[in-house]
Amino acid sequence: MLKANKLSLAVCLLALLLVLSACSSGTKEQVNTNNGVEGQSSDKPTNLSFELWLGWSATINNDSLVQKYWEEQEPGVAVTLEATQGDAITALNLKLNTGGFKDAAVFNRSEVVKNAMKNSNSILSLEQYFDMPDQYPNLASIPKQYLDAMRDEDGHIWSIPTWFDQDPSNPWPGWASVTWLVRSDLVEQAGMKLEDLSTIEGVEQFLRKAAELKDASGKPINPMGFLMDPNDTAGWNDENAVLSAFGVTTGGAGGVIPVEKKDGEFVLLYDDPQYKAAYQWLNKMYREKLIDPEVVTDKKERYKEKNKSGRTALNVGSFWNVDASVWETLDGPTEPGWYYEPIPHPKVEGVETVGSNQVVNPYPGYDVYINKNTKNLEAILTFFDYSLQPKAEQQQVINEGPAGLYWDWIDAPLGKWKYIDEQYSTARNSGDVAQKSTVTPELYMISSYNNDWYPWWNFGEADKQGSFKTQQFTQAIGQMGGVRSAHTHDMVTAKPGGLWEKYAPELENLRKEYRAKLIMAKDEAQFEEAWQQFRDALEKRAHWSELKEEWHESYEVLVQTNGEF
């Protein structure tokens, strides 16, 4: 009996040991992951290799096809990736306290990260490597304005910038998505044309007619809808489409608050008189029951469900919130989603220029830091010199390999493209992060881009015709006046330890608290009361005047460092 118990205990322990081995090494036939902390991932000897730590969560498979290409073909560097699984800043703090990362680390551009890296005294200054055109021609070709903006007071540059626009004078407008998205079928049912909605009065007329219509299941149509997401921000929310039409700038380029220069003066967001006018219009529409009565309380998924079932005639805001799958899954006009069309911001009397809801910031979005004790500096510089080749398609090459390997042009270079390798394409688009990681680590952000060509606006293959609509929408919206290039005043950040750091969260709380009150005010008197309360609260709770003063001071400092543009 005792022997039997001991035997069964031994068997259990052995089983546990086997399970443990399986856990540590992974299931090789499906997910062959390598933690990549020590050594190289390939069996073949390579001369150049380094470890790159990603400052975000990612599924890593260091035997991916694209990484194999980097190692075996071009640029002949084995890159071993490591990611974080929790909060990146905490992980950075922990890493820096234990000697830092081994070779290189890439992070979203952030003052916090930059200061932490500098203060750790563990990173290498890199300014000399941007001046070696014979050895690193592509590092030398990084636009000088980006590098000059990165120099500290001693002239050092502490990172390699990536994910920037190769031609800052002609920047890529990005995924413009904030628009007035109307159901063309309902415009027709209302007896109107899209051109009739070119003025705000025309939109109001359409909304009144739409209010009398019914959807396919007999329920009344919501004339206008948008998402009031509790997680949105001043620079990213659906009401910005209306604010744009009223001439209010809501976009920024990393600055603490949206600002526009009007008549030679800087007007911060909440001081723009048109901000009030825009909310007055929304309130008027709400009182006339021309806005979905549940607009203030609907969560994202409820909003998407209403759009999918065709309950709304006009959506204002980002089409991503409407949910692009509403049209992307269609092959023809089989559901209401097919009929969505973006229209230009309607003309409001007295407004000469549409407010910018998207500011194109060509400046780098990511930084690569290098450990000063790395033994693989040559490998790191060679690799990033490769990834930063100033070609329009380079981001695609880094992400999916070169043309002709796993993807290729359909007609001509810089035109439409498609996947040509069935196995690659299946894993890539399987929808399973583990499968996708076996083919590519998706590191497009260590490259750069330009306006000549963007891969996801030129993807030539799709199961459904509707999937091309998103590309068409975003390109059209980019031309509707709501997108402009960044100026110095868009990039004013918070002074460390200053008032913006302290009161910016409260400012955001006030915006969210009062937007609902302004929209839902029962009459004009109540609207005025809510507006006055909002202005009082801005001063009392968010110290608005002091914030503006600090903004101007910070702006002057920024102009002295970077110049005015």
Partner: protein, 298 residues
């Protein structure tokens, strides 16, 4: 014994309050279960309270079909089993040793252990320690640091001291070694205590997401709770579906129209909570006895 009307009324009120408390704990769970078993797009319409309206197992298919989750499950199960067994074993051995009143420097050891229970150096020193001993980014980072629990040790010590000394002395007189006494006398008598502490330890291992978030970097080593934490802070389905553009997400076919991030989150919550809940009924008889440990002196 006859109970007065007041006592009966008191009992009714108490039962009522406890029933309400029970419902308030149970209902969110039922709600999440209903949402996880309902089509995502239908659930977004609202109106689902206890039963799913448009029943589907698609959410679970996606969750359980996700390679990352399956692997994370394996990690969670392994660390729970190994961590609980080793944790109880190591702590029990320490408690048994310290239960000997004649052990030299016993009070010093107990004082030292008490200090470590009351104070700790914080996250950064702990991480430095793990890094220096080479545990960072290994499976053992889940097991070794948690092998000894000061709190559990004190509870076990108290329980062992409650076992009559005569029992242990008679075994010693019969020639039993301390190891034999531990496993053949102490352990059988300590089943309620071990079951209760084992359950607390197992639940602690099962629910821990922090170690997976900061002490490992490889996704093949994260437990299911760390994945759930990543998913709960995701703003769209790309964390599960692994797509960075809508075109890629659509490659999965038309069924994807009916799933939403909320329904997937609920399914992951169920998948991570139900297994450990199933363990409770098996340990209930020990659990009831075990919670009274240390409450009665003598």
């Amino acid at each position: 014994m006859k109970t007065s009307i007041q006592e009966k009324l008191g009992q009714v009120i108490i039962i009522g309050l406890l029933a309400l408390l029970c419902l308030s704990v149970l209902y969110p769970f039922l709600y999440m279960l209903a949402i996880s078993l309902n089509e995502g797009s239908d659930a977004a319409k609202g109106g689902i309270y206890i039963w799913p309206r448009a029943f589907t197992l698609l959410n679970y298919e996606i969750v359980l079909g996700n390679e990352v989750i399956r692997h994370a499950y394996l990690i969670t199960i392994a660390r729970t089993v190994i961590g609980t067994v080793t944790g109880l074993l190591v702590t029990l051995i320490a408690a048994y040793g310290l239960s000997y009143r004649l052990l030299p420097l016993r009070k010093v050891f107990l004082g030292y252990i008490l200090i470590t229970m009351l104070f700790n150096g914080g996250l950064v020193p702990f991480y430095i320690q793990l890094y220096n001993v080479g545990l960072v980014n290994t499976f053992w980072v889940y097991i070794i640091p948690g092998m000894f629990s000061a709190w559990n040790m004190f509870v076990m010590l108290k329980f062992i001291q409650g076992i009559p000394d005569a029992l242990i002395e008679s075994a010693e007189l019969d020639g039993a070694s301390p190891v034999r006494i531990l496993f053949q006398i102490i352990v059988p008598l300590s089943k309620p205590m071990l079951a209760a502490l084992g359950l607390f330890t197992a639940v602690g291992h099962w629910n821990d997401w922090f170690a997976g978030a900061f002490f490992v970097s490889s996704q093949s080593l994260i437990p299911v709770q760390t994945f759930l934490q990543q998913l709960l802070s995701a703003s769209d389905l790309s964390a599960v579906l692994g797509s960075n553009t809508n075109q890629e997400a659509l490659a999965r076919g038309s069924q994807m129209q009916n799933i939403t991030l909320m329904s997937i989150k609920m399914a992951v919550v169920m998948v991570s909570a139900i297994p450990i809940l199933c363990v409770y009924p098996f340990l209930q008889k020990y659990f009831v006895k075990g919670v009274l440990i240390g409450s009665v002196k003598g």
